[in-house]
Amino acid sequence: MDRFKQTFSSKKWLAIALATLALGIALSLVSTAFLTFSNIQSVLVQASVTAIMAVGMTFIILTGGIDISMGAILFFTSSLFAKIMVETGSYSMAFTAAIGCACLLGAVNGLLVVRFKIIPLITTLATYTMYRGMAIHLTGAQNIPVPREMGFLGNGKLMGIPVPILLLAIVFVLGLYLLNKTRFGLYVKAIGNSEQSARETNLPVNWVTILVYVIGGLTTGIAALILLARVGGLQSGIGIGIEFTVIAAVVLGGTKLSGGSGTIVGSVIGAVFLVLIDNGLNLLNASPYIYDIVKGVVLLAAVIIDKVSFERQAKHLLEQKALRIKSTSGVA
């Protein structure tokens, strides 16, 4: 039992995985259509955009930061892509520019956070406003259709697997690799644990911080292209506000908002979980306006449960200490 508890607390993503599984089972009982291969595929495709961004956001939150400009980066990146596509017709140019620009905007976030030491929430709030303005400036708020062939990114299949799922898988694996196999990944977690200790240990804190925001930008750029392809064209304001769904996915996945601990698996499952809620409410034919309420309640429930289990653990440690003290005698 103790061992079970230990793995459970060390692998926090198990909680959201179980919740997702439970929700999945419940949905399959309600609807026969749920547990089909095509529906599961469709759920994953729907989750791909937020899940990919959640991978990037996980890195940022692991360092104790946050990026609320992600939606605006998504908007700007898709605008740039569509604009270049229309003007030059060159895929390679549009892809390079869009992905490069997404990374660049992320880098700007990172640089500002590192250089001016204003808290990330405010820094990215300012850049959110700027990026959004820049995006509308770029397109004049026009809808710009993208060529149909681009739909391949949104609903094409490679080896029978939908491309968005494939891209999610690639981002997921790369994210796992970066976080778990490289020095960088360890540094990310270390900074989130204690930036001061990380500096005292001579870790390259500034570089790592900038890099996590670049990763945030990069994943947003990839997500932008998928969304653009699926929606079929640039729509003004696309992606604005998505960052809060992404943050919710990351937090539901068990990553601490204060940084230091969390997993990529959890964040991706968190994104899937949110899509499942939509899916379930859809199947129940619930009013679309109830979705927000349900998501809000789920989010609150998740943080409350997390808090309760944390406090139990802390109390357990204290009780052990009390026992130890009691057992030592008071007489010299």
Binding site: L112, F116, I118, I119, L121, I122, T123, L125, A126, T127, Y128, T129, M130, Y131, R132, G133, M134, A135, I136, H137, A141, F244, I247, A248, V251, L257, S258, S287, Y289, I290, Y291, D292, I293, V294, K295, G296, V297, L299, L300, V303, I304, K307
Partner: protein
């Protein structure tokens, strides 16, 4: 000030005093230069009518920003302010549409705000949850509530008296702004002149020290989120007088403007540093900026870029000045 300065006397002390004021309110020179610049660009800028429209248009943001300032001063954040405005507007609108009573409508608006404030305050103050995630959750709930009740459509049937109040002015000051000013005065006095306000500031500057000094930290945190909720409720009601109807999404777009105004004024998100007066100035800068740029014909998307830069620079400047303070 007191004895030490008096003893110094002379122009030196005066200079230091005014420099001190500049450090406390770094936004004043920005406002002054904005006003000078805009009035030279547009003849309409410095007119009574324009001033009135700036004042009326920003009362909702200003009232909500007062709540946000209090929350910031405790080192927290309230993301739900915006959608609680929407929810309370819709509830108030629905109540007024069916009863025709402004009093009942106002009570409903304040009640909804209070309800969400209590929920936030309880979860944050008594259960120890993180403000960001907690209020993100209640934000979603409030938005859902607003849309469920209204079915997404503006609630019509606002009593004429309330609409007329929307047009009421006293010495050129819109009625809604008068309410806002009253709330401003109460909150400034409350924050600077009562024991509660003092304890709030102390709590914000160090929550452990506050606890060790015997300040009831849970109550302070609860009260702050409660007030922020109530103010959001009032703002929701004001939005009806302002716009003529209760709109389910009325507050949703305001969140970033509210936070921007508070931060631009120089209230720190880390708590214990800042004031309502600074927020007035911060919200004022954004209001004047938007109005002036509109009059100049700058497209709104370019205004966004300017706003973003200003929020960043303004906040950085305020932080720098206050950290060097004496």
């Amino acid at each position: 000030m007191d004895s030490v300065y008096k003893a110094e006397g002379g122009s030196k002390a005066k200079l230091r005093n005014s420099l001190g004021a500049l450090k406390t309110y770094p936004s004043v020179p920005i406002i002054v230069s904005l006003i000078i610049a805009f009035s030279s660009f547009s003849p309409y800028f410095l007119t009574a009518g324009n001033a009135e429209s700036i004042l009326a248009a920003n009362s909702v943001v200003m009232i909500a920003a007062i709540g946000m300032t209090l929350v910031f001063l405790t080192g927290g954040i309230d993301l739900s302010i915006s959608t609680v405005i929407s929810a309370s507007a819709v509830v108030a609108g629905t109540v007024m549409a069916s009863t025709g009573s402004i009093a009942l409508g106002s009570a409903a608006a304040v009640g909804v705000g209070l309800g969400f404030g209590l929920l936030n305050g309880f979860l944050i103050g008594y259960c120890g949850l993180t403000p960001f995630i907690t209020t993100m959750g209640t934000q979603l709930i409030a938005r859902g509530l607003a849309f469920v009740i209204s079915q997404g459509i503006a609630v019509k049937g606002t009593p004429y008296a309330l609409l007329d109040f929307g047009f009421y002015t006293l010495w050129g000051i819109p009625g809604v702004m008068l309410i806002c000013i009253a709330i401003l005065i109460v909150s400034i006095v409350g924050l600077s002149q009562t024991t509660w306000g003092r304890e709030l500031m102390l709590f914000g500057s160090s929550r452990d020290s506050a606890r060790y000094t015997g300040i009831n930290t849970k109550k302070i945190e609860l009260s702050v989120y409660m007030i922020s909720g109530v103010l959001a409720g009032i703002a929701g009601m004001i939005s009806i007088a302002n716009l003529g109807n209760a709109i389910p999404g009325v507050g949703d777009t305001l969140l970033l403007i509210i936070i921007g105004g508070v931060v631009l004024g120089g209230t720190s998100m880390n708590g214990g540093e800042g004031s309502i007066t600074r927020t007035i100035l911060g919200v004022g800068i954004l209001a004047i900026l938007t109005n002036g740029l509109n009059l100049m014909g700058i497209p709104f998307y370019d205004q966004l870029i300017i706003q973003g830069i200003l929020i960043f620079v303004g906040n950085g400047l305020a932080m720098k000045l206050s950290s060097n303070k004496r």
